[in-house]
Symmetry: D2
Subunit: 162 residues, 4 copies
């Protein structure tokens, strides 16, 4: 089984720019993370975009949906900014069928020592292997169906609706 | 759902002793790892023992089996040294029924910057939620049934039999 | 000998705010860094302010100069943002006499795994013990007299004038 | 000014061997540490040996003394295991004259997240620039003349004699 990893950016991949003192996107850290995790799963990584999910447009979401619908793999992990992860999950649920898709991200960039990213990536790659077709959000040890999750921005956590 | 985490030691928890220059067990790092992963799953952690799995006796395995059989939780993650993880998995398969048990560990101690531990813990906590009752080994992104896995010590990886 | 460490903020102490995704100042990391370095030198830490050096006013510089002039210690390390470190060094040279003062900082926040902060702090605490009275800037292994240094912002390095 | 860095191994460079679970020497981490510290000092690195200082023979010490005596540089940092650092310092004091030589090491390997190595390297590279000819031991923020230092193995610290 090959798991496709679709990279879209998000906190996961934010870096510190030494020259400007600002956070920025440069290259993805997913390959480093897989190496750190000594991941022996067969994966294929596509860097689709490197953006903050607050800047993600409907066109960008269309690109993600198309990439997931058109790839040969039926198990897909998407790394994504947390702020609009749920919106992208909804777009995927509408546009892709018969595949297991798990979105994940990080509350703290992987480049920070204290990042949750490696934990979340290990989690998402596991849920995607074990769950039936559908679209899910896996964050911080929990996994939610796409239509039963929201980001509580005040608390900085993902939680079930109602 | 509460996931019980049973700590037995292993590479996961090895530390560097500054006074002697040797590796040793001191306290478990599992709580630190859950905090790093910002784990929002409901977990209960039991530190059953803190030993190298090469030193694990049949009596120790009996203790682990009893702890898993007797606890109220039906989803259990066990942190364990890699060298005899498969033997403990077999003991659990013989002695515990109707529960989902996932053994995990690390190739490199969590206290090392380059540890795979956080990735594996995120993975094990996910497989344990999604898989049906049974005993499994989850390492480096893959999950094996207890009777279809071995540690290839030359390569330092877990692999399916045959 | 006691070395006084005057904390003013700067990149050294920037943290990632999980709720907003922005960098911010919270608490200083200097105590953590001294612990990591297992620093056995007798030090006294004063947190004078926690600001980006681009936001530092002449009043702030006056506060720093007064703190250095008035303290009992004759060897002082100042942690400072890199952008205006040289300006503060000049203010100190004009306002404090007979003391060895070493300003240092970091190109990358200590909270990032890849920070140069620990290296620079070890360096500054060493130069301050060994150099005669005067005001110096110690960054990335080099030490400059206050009137022979500038930050080259394009290259992100400190260098001697002319 | 070029500072010569002579690598002899020691805790600094110990790594975890994933296959055996033991600590070992492989390659030196000094280049990584200089990069992390964004060191802009002109340095030349010689890897003379990669050994535990408890295994260091008089012949090894002779090799180190000869390397320091014969190199063109007059400012030398030696990375060294802590257990016999003081003995090597004495050999250097007897055999090399007119040069500033600073021995340093680490209580915890650099490959561990909690290592003091980067702090000590920044410190040693600074003392070596600022101190007059002589042989010194720089550890954990302090610098000792070669004939006024011992390792207190019970406490895990270097301290002055008497």
């Amino acid at each position: 089984m090959t798991v496709r990893i679709v990279v879209t950016g998000g906190t996961f991949d934010k870096e510190y720019n030494e020259l400007t003192g600002a956070l920025r996107f440069n290259r993805t850290h997913v390959a480093d993370m897989l190496e750190r995790g000594r991941c022996k799963l067969d994966v294929a990584v596509d860097v689709l975009m490197m953006i903050d999910s607050l800047d993600m447009t409907q066109a960008d979401r269309g690109t993600i949906v198309a990439a997931c619908a058109n790839c040969v793999d039926s198990r897909i992990v998407i790394t994504h900014g947390t702020d609009t992860m749920v919106e992208t999950a909804a777009a995927l649920a509408a546009g892709v069928h018969g595949k297991t898709i798990v979105l994940t991200g990080a509350m703290v960039p992987y480049a920070f020592g204290s990042s949750d990213g490696l934990f979340n990536l290990g989690s998402a790659l596991s849920f995607v292997q074990a769950l039936p077709p559908g679209v899910y959000v896996a964050m911080n040890g929990r996994c939610f169906a796409w239509d039963n999750v929201r980001k509580n921005r005040d608390a900085g956590i993902f939680e079930a609706l109602g």
